[in-house]
């Protein structure tokens, strides 16, 4: 069946506008995706029909919103095939999910002399929380090296694992290069030594099917806004056994069972980790986004985006002077590149003037950029609503940049 691109594009109101007198081309999907009408409607529906605080009211609205909230939790668990919905914790996003684990797991399981392993491909949000934790605990942070193609150096990884390793935190997909990491292999190896693995799935969930049981990861984190859902809603999946042993991350309402003047007992999972009033509108939107992905079919999305990537790699790679950064064998639909010696900022300014939204700079992964010995990159990241014609527009813009800075 042909991919219904025209129908899909109609679902996204933002796409249909002119910028600088040209039709907008949106290639900054790794930063955030646009939202389909169904997601926008879900938010409107929440505020115009169901708005109230959940879990606490016996009244009608509260019950209806609570039901939708908890149904979404179930939908998330089936979206990533988690064994149980109480292993799904709603957060603000991937960053908060990782911070939660670093802080809470760290408090319970990491002490002086221990080691934490991350990779050289991490976004700052899966880097800095571990760095600070290790500094505080006098533990050591180790890095899995990256090959020049942008892949994990698996031999070095195996050598890094030691008796002192307490946790491994790696990204599923690199936000700078698009590399799909061999997380299954990492997890299988780590589990031989009973080392838990956290996977940062922010760049994965909108592009490919994720099955946390098949991966057997111990934690999986992702953001709604990178998968067509609203900003400010995210997910932490964690294995029940670990979550049970971890202390709460934040303290307040919702996460308590009983509060006495001298002590407090904590609520059960997942509420133990959901202090305060949650982002209910975000949860409504997330459900609509998951429906949208399910209806379109994640495998159809993967196939379409793979075609886009292949075309863009060929089209841009064919322009003299264009250097593709990151040539891993397995990639999502993201292409990072440089044009000759032109600074990414300069290129970005001109590409923007041609109506195309790309990202330039270090993409919140400064250690990786340093490793690659580049001043940053130009990153075009595709989503299911992008087209081949839009890639042609990007190629034209790249040629324009070359001419202007020649």
């Amino acid at each position: 069946m042909a991919f219904p691109i025209d129908k899909i594009r109609k679902e996204f109101p933002v796409l249909h506008q002119m910028v600088y007198n040209r039709p907008l081309v949106y290639f900054d999907n790794a930063a955030t995706t646009q939202k389909p009408q169904a997601v926008i409607d879900a938010i409107i529906n929440y505020y115009s029909r169901d708005n109230c605080n959940i879990h606490r009211g016996v009244h009608f609205l509260s019950q209806r919103a609570t039901e939708e909230f908890e149904n979404t939790r179930k939908a998330v668990s089936s979206f990533i095939n988690a064994p149980s919905s109480h292993e799904i914790i709603f957060t603000k996003g991937t960053t908060e999910s990782i911070n939660l684990v670093a802080s809470s797991f760290g408090k319970r399981f990491i002490s002086k002399g221990d080691e934490v392993i991350i990779s050289g491909l991490e976004h700052h949000s899966n880097f800095v929380p571990w760095q600070i934790l290790c500094n505080e605990k006098e533990a050591t942070l180790k890095f899995i090296p990256v090959t020049p193609e942008g892949e994990l150096d698996m031999d070095s990884f195996r050598k890094l694992v030691s008796k002192k390793t307490r946790i491994i935190a790696i990204t599923h997909v690199s936000n700078v290069l698009g590399t799909i990491l061999p997380v299954e292999e990492v997890i299988r190896y780590a589990h031989q030594f009973n080392i838990p693995v956290l996977v940062d799935g922010a760049q994965a969930v909108s592009h490919m099917a994720v099955d946390v049981q098949k991966l057997d990861c111990d934690f999986y984190c992702f953001s709604g806004h990178k998968m067509y859902a609203p900003m400010g809603i995210g997910v932490l999946y964690g294995k029940e056994k670990l979550l049970e042993e971890m202390p709460p991350y934040q303290l307040g309402g919702e996460m308590i069972k009983e509060v006495f003047f001298d002590h407090t007992t904590y609520n059960d999972l997942p509420y133990k980790f959901e202090a305060g009033t949650p982002n209910v509108e975000g949860v409504y939107g997330l459900k609509a986004a998951m429906n949208f992905i399910r209806e379109t079919g994640i495998d159809n999305i993967y196939a379409w985006e793979e075609e886009l990537l292949r075309y863009a790699t060929w089209k841009l790679g064919d322009i003299e002077g264009v250097r593709l950064i990151g040539t891993a064998r397995k990639k999502t639909s993201l292409i990072s590149f440089l044009i000759g010696n032109i600074h990414p900022y300069d290129a970005g300014v001109i590409i923007d003037k041609m109506g195309i939204a790309v990202r330039t700079g270090h993409h919140c992964a400064m250690p990786l950029i340093e490793l690659l010995k580049v001043p940053g990159t130009i990153r075009a990241s595709f989503a299911l609503y992008n087209t081949f014609e839009e890639i042609d527009r990007l190629a034209e813009a790249v040629i324009q940049v070359k001419q202007m800075f020649a």
């Binding site: 600074h343 300069d346 970005g348 300014v349 001109i350 700079g361 940053g376 202007m404 800075f405």
Partner: protein, 139 residues
């Protein structure tokens, strides 16, 4: 020339451009002819870090006037730096401190000074004024 005379001159120059491409070609040319900072000042001490591009800025004080030289790793940033230097260099500290740099808005380059661009230009103007203040106190 006074600061406002130079600003007017730049506004006139930019009024000839019919589209964005001419304008940016001009900025790129300006970037290529920026009065470059002496290499010995191209150090971290004189670096103004932006998220996307960086600027090195040095100020000298000659005959009651502040003289700026600079460099950047990005050519468009360099071009805009050149415009800022054209306006503020060889002026008295008092005039530099008082200047409002409205020409940037008039010639349609305001977006380059927005915080989201993170190219170091906003910090650069602040730094130029700080230099002027320092020289004013010294003299």
């Amino acid at each position: 020339m006074t600061i406002s005379e130079i600003e007017n001159q730049i506004v006139t120059e930019f009024s000839f451009f019919e589209d964005w491409m001419d304008k940016y070609n001009f900025i790129i040319e300006m970037g290529k002819s920026l009065p470059l900072i002496d290499n010995r000042f191209k150090t971290d001490q004189y670096l103004i870090t932006g998220c996307q591009s960086q600027v090195w800025l040095y100020a000298d004080y000659r005959d009651g006037k502040v003289v700026f030289t600079a460099d950047s790793d990005a050519i468009i940033t360099k071009g805009i730096v050149h415009l800022l230097i054209r306006v503020l260099s060889n002026q008295t500290p008092e005039d530099i401190i008082r200047s409002e740099m409205q020409f940037i808005d008039v010639i349609g380059l305001k977006e380059h000074l927005s915080p989201t661009r993170s190219n170091g230009l906003v910090s650069m103007i602040k730094q130029m004024k700080l230099y002027a203040m320092a020289y004013k106190i010294k003299s």
